[in-house]
């Protein structure tokens, strides 16, 4: 099977928010196959590398099989938190959009499974 580079935004939905200085992203797979892929490919190391100095602490990922989603927690990730941060996006609502730009390599036919 030929491989293809896709962005997470092509195969997932996302919504993100905050608690203090913790950014939280819900990454929702758009098919069974995509869920199996993101469980393997979207790792704390890759997420940290993707956000560079915007995420200073640990990244923890919780799988949610019932919703085919990953619950991603990123510590020290909001420039101090809603009330202290200098960012325009004080509550990290766009952090999911940021993650959605991450590229991963998938089998070419995966895109056809996305609804």
């Amino acid at each position: 099977m030929a491989k293809k580079k896709v962005k997470l935004m092509d195969i997932c939905y996302y919504r993100s928010g905050d608690k203090g200085n913790i950014s939280n992203i819900g990454l929702m797979a758009r098919s069974d196959k995509v869920y199996e892929i993101i469980k393997k490919e979207v790792t704390p190391e890759r997420i940290k590398a993707h956000f560079k100095d915007w995420v200073k602490g640990d990244v923890i990922i919780y799988p949610m099989d019932n919703l085919q989603s990953l619950e991603i927690m990123m510590y020290q990730a909001l420039g101090g938190g809603a009330t202290k941060t200098l960012r325009i996006d004080q509550t990290g609502k766009a952090m999911g959009n940021g993650l959605s730009k991450m590229e991963i390599e998938v089998d070419e036919d995966v895109l056809t499974t996305v609804t």
């Binding site: 919780y62 949610m64 609502k93």
Partner: protein
């Protein structure tokens, strides 16, 4: 099976007022709840209350009630209401609502007023002396000493116990302070369905915590801020607010009125179930802990989704022994400025301005504690994830935003005016100025825990004569 219909009324300040009115008018509801408080709002309200004892509540409660009480009056089925809009001053908020009710000839209406969620700072010191550690949830250590002399306010996210008490004493409307968003809804499930804080009910309370989460952000479960935004419509410009039909066994149907826009789909609920929950197996709220991995969503009609059990495991666990305590403290001042750069060569101009500002700070001896430089139209929201702009990309215009954090207001102003604003000096012709937002004090938050028994809450029932 016994059931109760609970509507969402508000998710913050401000929210679509017509959403609540639509739910009350057309939602055939038994209960409706109003959350008005964001993480920081209580600190602002406590500050207001300290200066003027007739303030400190959410002013929006009054016009909202002015519109709602007439609907309440004309309905044969008088729905019950629950609100945390009392903020730092629930008694005064209740007094104002009582006056409204009197003007509307609503004799006999009862208001439950809950107080005690605001903790005097001296009690924190007492608890520390007794050996309690206020571990900072952000850092994992008790470093309260560092901020003790800058503390402004302390407030506890409280649970549904007093809401349930208020209903059982006949309250039609409950007004509290920092009642947790989730508890505003849990009380509405537990009281009418007879659920107790005992082992038999944790599964159902867990389900209630989940559904409370789905309701507490109002339209956010019904298609606003959604990945499906392109296909979701608002024919009359009114987003729908979710309504939960909760059954005795904890299963539930979430829907919305036909008179509102938006949508209730598995996807719109799913995106809210993954929103701000952290460890999904332990979504901790004052009244119970929900295991969100045990929830199943199923579309049963247009704009109706059934929320049930995913497997044969409990959806809930016993409520935590401690409550969430937020401490707010002063932490300097933030100033910011936006300048619009007109092309050509927008990114090159912005780069030059950046260098100019850094040199000027140095030249003037200004030392902001933090500075953030971002480009609106490129990286202001997603930061480093967007990389550098491609060399051949030159949009007609971009915005430069610079923000400073300083110890004093004077220094924050100097950074903004002398450097942020005057950065136009280094740009080409055609820079556009904007009116900068006011310099704002930083109320930093120190999230921690407090033992439940250290938070004595008080319920008072007031009645309209």
């Amino acid at each position: 099976m016994k059931k109760v219909r609970v509507g969402a009324g508000s998710s913050g300040w401000p929210d679509f007022k017509d959403g609540a009115l639509d739910v009350a008018q057309n939602g055939d509801i038994d209960y409706i709840s109003f959350d008005h408080l964001a993480e920081l709002t209580m600190a602002i309200l406590q500050n207001q209350y300290a200066k003027d004892q007739t303030r400190g509540y959410i002013p929006e409660v009054i016009p909202l009630m002015k519109s709602l009480l007439p609907i309440w009056k004309e309905k044969d089925k008088h729905f019950k209401m629950c609100s945390n809009g009392g903020g730092a001053n629930p008694p005064e908020c209740a007094n104002q609502v009582l006056k409204l009710a009197q003007d509307l000839n609503l004799g006999g209406i009862k208001i439950g007023v809950i107080t005690g969620d605001t903790i005097p700072l001296s009690r924190l010191d007492d608890l520390r002396k007794q050996g309690w550690n206020f571990i900072n949830a952000d850092t994992g250590v008790d470093d309260l000493e560092k901020v003790r002399d800058r503390l402004l306010a302390a407030y506890v996210y409280t649970g549904a116990d007093e809401i349930i008490d208020a209903y059982s004493q006949g309250a039609d409307l409950v007004i509290g302070g920092r009642l947790s968003d989730n508890s505003l809804y849990i009380g509405n499930f537990m009281y009418p369905l007879g659920w107790q804080f005992t082992d038999e009910y944790w599964d159902r309370i867990g389900a209630g915590v989940c559904v409370g989460h789905l309701l507490e952000c109002s339209s956010w479960s019904a298609g606003t801020c959604s990945n499906l935004w392109e296909e979701i419509d608002y024919p009359k410009g009114n987003p729908g607010f979710p309504i939960a039909e909760m059954y005795e066994n904890g299963d539930c149907i979430v829907s919305k009125t036909e008179t509102s826009g938006g949508a209730i789909r598995v996807q719109t609920l799913k995106e809210h179930l993954v929103y701000e929950v952290h460890d999904p197996e332990n979504y901790i709220m004052p009244d119970g802990i929900c295991d969100l991995t045990q929830i199943k969503l199923e579309q049963i009609d247009k704009d109706a989704v059934k929320v049930t059990k995913f497997a044969d495991k409990s959806r809930g666990k016993p409520r935590p022994e401690n409550l969430k305590l937020c401490l707010a403290y002063n932490d300097g001042f933030i100033s910011e400025e936006i300048t619009i750069v007109c092309g050509p060569k927008v990114f090159k101009q912005a780069e030059k301005a950046h260098e100019f500002v850094l040199r000027r700070l140095d030249h003037l001896g200004l030392k902001p504690r933090e500075m953030l430089w971002s480009i609106i139209g490129w990286d202001s929201l997603c930061g480093p994830t967007v990389g550098a702009p491609p060399p051949d990309y030159d949009p007609p215009e971009i915005g430069i935003r610079v923000a400073f954090k300083c110890d004093t207001k004077e220094e924050a102003r100097a950074c903004r005016t002398e450097c942020g604003h005057l950065c136009w000096g280094s740009l080409g012709v055609g820079a556009g100025f904007t009116n900068p937002p006011a310099i704002r004090p930083v109320f930093a938050l120190y999230p921690t825990l407090i033992p439940r028994e250290a938070v004595p809450l008080k319920l008072e029932i007031k009645e309209v004569k």
